[in-house]
C-alpha cells in the first residue's frame, strides 16, 4: 500500500510565502503590516486495548495579518489561502485597526534580522506518513500482547512551515518537524508509562520504551498503601519537568513589575539550590529549538537561572523596551542541569537511597497559590517505595502540595539531564533528582 507520503500535501514553500507576504505588504494601506503563516501537516495513530482506535491525518494552513494605523492595531486570520480570501483578511484587519483605541503599548514589528539556521526539519520525519506510524504502533501493541498486557498510546509525526514577514524588512521562513511516541501499559489495575519526542522519527526508540513501560507496569502490580506525610523522593525526569513547567510559566516580566508574581523582588537573587542552572539551548540536537519566535524575534541561547540565581524574566516587547532589555530571551528549548557529579542513572539513584518514594510522573498539576507557587497534583503510572537501595513495593498514588521554589532548595543526588515529555509540557532536558523532603497530603484508591 502506498500513501501519498511526501507528495501530499504540498506545504507552502519559501517562494510561495515570499509571494504571499509581498502581496499583502504591497496592498496594505497601514503604517505597519505583519503577516504570519503557519501551515501544518500532522498525523496520529492512536491505540488502546491493544488495537488502533483512531488513525488521523490532516493539513491546516493559517495566515494571520496584523496592521496598525497610528498605534491602533487589528489582527485577522484565515485558513483559506486563495487570493480573494487573503485580500479579504487584509481588509478585515484594516477595518478592525481603524476603529480600535490607540494601544499605549504598541510597537512596530521588528526590523530585518538574520535568523539562525537550525536543523528543525528532518527528512525522515517529513516523509514518515501513516504507514510508519502504524508500524510503530503495531510494534508496541505486539510487545504488550506477548506479555498478556494492554497497550494504549500514540505515534505522531508532523511537519510545519512557519513564516513571518513585515514591511519593516522582517522576513523569516522555517520548516519544522516533530515526532512523538507515548505508551501506557496496563497490567490489570497497574500501569507503566513511557514517552518520547524528537525532531527525528528515527529517535523514538519505540521498542526500548515499550519494554521499559512493560517492566514498570509489572512492577506496579502489588501495591500497598502508605500514610500521608513528608517523604524523601526520587523524581524521574517527567515528574521534575511537571513541577518546573509552572515555575517557568510564572517568569512573566509584567507580573514581576506589578508585584503579582511569586518572584517579585527576587531578580538577581538565589531562588533554588545554588548548583541548579536553567538555560535555553536552541542548538541542542535533542531539543526542539527554533530559528525565530511568533513575534519575529530570533531564538537565542540564554541562561534563566544561573547557579540558583534568577537572572532573566520573560519579556513582551513593550516591557523589554521599557526596561532597557535589548535581547529578549526565548524559552522553547530548555535544559535544567546541576553542577557537580551526577550519578549515572535512575537505577543508581535508587541504589544510593536508604528510603524514598520513587515517582515516575505527575498528573494534573495545577497552582494552588501563585503567590508562592504552591502546586498540587497526583502521582501517576508508577509510584514505588525504595528501601535500602531497592524498589520494595509499588504504592498507591498520592496527592502532593509543594512549591518547586521550596523543594528545589536542596537536591541530594541527581543524574545528567535526560529527555522529559509529559502530557502538559513540551520536551525538556532535566535530571532525575533525589530530594530530601516532599509533602504528600492524601492517598487515592489505587
Amino acid at each position: 500500500m502506498m500513501l501519498h507520503g511526501d507528495q501530499w500535501p504540498n506545504m507552502t514553500s519559501r517562494e510561495e510565502f515570499r509571494f504571499l507576504s509581498e502581496l499583502v505588504l504591497t496592498r496594505s494601506s497601514a503604517d505597519h503590516t505583519m503577516i504570519r503563516v503557519h501551515d501544518r501537516h500532522a498525523g496520529t495513530t492512536r491505540f488502546a486495548n491493544n488495537q488502533v482506535i483512531q488513525n488521523v491525518d490532516g493539513r491546516c494552513g493559517n495566515v494571520a495579518v496584523t496592521v496598525s494605523f497610528g498605534g491602533r492595531q487589528g489582527t485577522a486570520s484565515t485558513t483559506d489561502f486563495t487570493a480573494g480570501a487573503i485580500q479579504e483578511t487584509l481588509s478585515r484587519a484594516e477595518r478592525i485597526a481603524k476603529i480600535t483605541p490607540v494601544d499605549p503599548e504598541y510597537l512596530p514589528p521588528p526590523g530585518p534580522c538574520s535568523f539562525p539556521a537550525r536543523d528543525t526539519a528532518k527528512p525522515e520525519t517529513m516523509t514518515a506518513g501513516a504507514p510508519r506510524r502504524l508500524e510503530y504502533a503495531n510494534e508496541a501493541i505486539g510487545q504488550c500482547r506477548m506479555e498478556n498486557l494492554m497497550a494504549a498510546g500514540t505515534v505522531s509525526s508532523s511537519t510545519a512551515v512557519v513564516g513571518v514577514a513585515a514591511n519593516t524588512g522582517l522576513f523569516g521562513y522555517e520548516r519544522r518537524g516533530e515526532a512523538s511516541f507515548s505508551l501506557t501499559v496496563q497490567a490489570g489495575e497497574a500501569t507503566g508509562w513511557s514517552a518520547a519526542t524528537h525532531r527525528s522519527i528515527n529517535h523514538l526508540k519505540v521498542q526500548e520504551r515499550t519494554l521499559a513501560a512493560i517492566s514498570q507496569a509489572k512492577r506496579s502490580r502489588d501495591v500497598c498503601e502508605l500514610p500521608t506525610g513528608r517523604y524523601p523522593v526520587i523524581l524521574e525526569p517527567a515528574a521534575v519537568a511537571g513541577l518546573w513547567a509552572w515555575l517557568i510559566r510564572s517568569l512573566d516580566a509584567k507580573s514581576y513589575l506589578k508585584r503579582t508574581s511569586a518572584f517579585a523582588g527576587r531578580l538577581e537573587q538565589a531562588i533554588v539550590d545554588r548548583r541548579i542552572t536553567l538555560q535555553n539551548s536552541p542548538d541542542h540536537v535533542d531539543l526542539l529549538g527554533e530559528g525565530f519566535s511568533a513575534d519575529g524575534l530570533p531564538s537565542t541561547p540564554s541562561r534563566w537561572i544561573d547557579h540558583g540565581v534568577l537572572r532573566q524574566l520573560a519579556y513582551d516587547r513593550f516591557t523589554a523596551k521599557q526596561q532597557g532589555v535589548t535581547t529578549i530571551p526565548t524559552l522553547e528549548a530548555l535544559e535544567l542541569s546541576l553542577e557537580g557529579s551526577p550519578v549515572d542513572s535512575i537505577h543508581d539513584l535508587v541504589k544510593q537511597t536508604e528510603r524514598a518514594i520513587l515517582v515516575t510522573n505527575f498528573w494534573y498539576i495545577r497552582p494552588v497559590n501563585l503567590r508562592d507557587l504552591m502546586l498540587t497534583g497526583m502521582t501517576r503510572d508508577g509510584t514505588f517505595l525504595v528501601e535500602n537501595g531497592e524498589i520494595v513495593s509499588a504504592v498507591k498514588n498520592f496527592r502532593f502540595h509543594e512549591s518547586p521554589l521550596d523543594v528545589f532548595q536542596h537536591v541530594d543526588l541527581w543524574t545528567a539531564p535526560m529527555e522529559a515529555v509529559n502530557s502538559e509540557t513540551r520536551k525538556v532536558l532535566v535530571p532525575a533528582v533525589a530530594l530530601p523532603q516532599f509533602h504528600f497530603t492524601s492517598v487515592t484508591r489505587f
Binding site: G58, P101, S156, W193, Y364, N369, R371, N397
Partner: protein, 485 residues
Amino acid sequence: MSSPTWDEFAELALKRIVASGAEYGDIRIQDSRTQHIEGEDRRIASIRDAKDIGFGVRVLYHGAWGFAASSVLSLEEVPRVADLAVEIAKGSASIALEKVRLAEEPIHRDRVITPCRINPFTVPLEKKSDLLLSAMEAMHRQTGIVRSSASLWARRDTKVFVSTEGSRIEWDLLTGQGECTATALHEGRFASRSFGTPHLRKGYELIEEADLLREGSRVATQAIEKVEAPVVDAGAFDLVLDPEHLSLTIHESCGHPSELDRALGYEANYAGTSFLTPEKLGSFRYGSRHVNLVADNTEQETLAATGYDDDGVACQQWDIIRHGIFVGYCTNREVAPKIGESRSRGSNRADGWGSVPIVRIANIGLEPGTATVDQLIADVKRGIYIEGHGSYSIDQRRYNFQFGGDAFWLIENGRRIHMLRDVIYHGVTPEFWNSCDGVADRSTRRRYGFITCGKGQPGQSGWMTHAASSARFRRVEVIRGEGHR
C-alpha cells in the same frame, strides 16, 4: 463559472468512500468565525478576528476507522482527502482485533440555527472596546486594585454533516461570552476575583444582560476584601457551594467519569480511565438521595445542545445519577453497543473540521431540590460558602479531587460572617457526593459553559454546559492553600 457548493463537495467525497467498499463514511465541512477582544490594565491589548474553514472525512472500513482533513476546500483536494481517509482506515483494519460496530440511528435531514436577538458580529467594535475599557476603569476606581482584565468572545459556526447512510444536517450556531478580573495587592500579597457570563449559545444580548460595569465594580471590591481576609484554619467544614463552583465539580467528578470511552480504556494513555466501570451501572451508590445528575443535550442555549452530534445522532436527555445511583453514560455510536445499548446518547463531538469526533461530556446538571440558599446556610454551624472556580485537580480515575474557588465566606451559626482566603478542600468523589444533604430550589439554578475541556490525542477542546442550584455538603476536609515561606 460559479464555485462548487458544499453539497457538491460532500457528494464527491461520499462517492469515493462508497466506491472503496467502506461500510460507512461521513464528511463535515465547517466554516467558523471567532472574534476575541482582550483588555488588560486599562488598554485594549488585542482584537483578533479569525476565519477557519475546512473539512474532515471519516471512513469505517472493515470495522476500522480512518480520518483525514484539510483546510483546502477544492475539487482536487476533497477526493484526495477522501481517498486518504480510506487508505488510513485500511491500514487500521490490517491490525484490528475487534471490528467497530455502529449503533443504529435513524436518518436525519435537518437544519439547526441558534436563535439570537443581536448578532455579535454586527455590534460595532468601538462599542465593545468602550465597554471593556469602562469595565476596567470601574475596577481601577477601587484603591488597591493593581491589575485588571476584561474580554469579549463570540463565535459563529456554519457546518454541514453528510453521511453515506443518507443523513444531512446543517448548522448555523452562535456562542458568546464576556468576563472581567480584578487583582488586588495588600502587604505584598495579591488576590484576584473574577466575573464571567456563562458561555451560551445566544447573541450579544448575553453581554447586554450581564452588566459588566456593575460586575467589574463588585469583583474589584471583593478582590480587596479577599486579599485582606484572614487565612482559613484547616479542618472539617460544612460547605455550601454556588452553581458556578458546582459546575466545575460536576464536570470533573461526574462528567468525565461518565464518559463510556474512558470507562472502556480508550483514554488510558492521556485523560485517564474512570472509576465508574460498566459493572457498576445501575447499582453503584455515587451520592446521597439528594443527588440527581441529569444529562440534557436538548436544553436551549446550552453548549452541547446542537440538535445532533457529530455522529449525526439526535441530542437527548437522560439520567446519569438518579437518587444517588449511577445509571447512565455519555456514549457515541461506537461505544454504546459495547454495553448492550441499542442507541447512542448522541455525545460524539469534534472541536472543529480537523478533529475526529470523540465521546464528550453531555450538558450534565444537578437537579434542583426544595430548599432556599438561606435555609441551606441557616443549618450550618461552622462552614464555608464558596463561589466560582479556582484551583482544581483530580486523579486519572476521577476519585481523589481537590478544589479551591474564587471567593470564600466563613459561615458561623447559620450566618455568612466574613471572607476567607486560600481555602482548598479535598476528598474522594463518592464520599463527597454522599455528604450532600441539600440542594437549593430551581430559583437559584444557573448554567455555566466550558469550552476548554481537554481530552483526546491530538488534544481537543470540548464544549458543554453544567447547570446547578446551590448545594450543601457536610464535613468536608479543608486545608490552607498557601506554602511555607
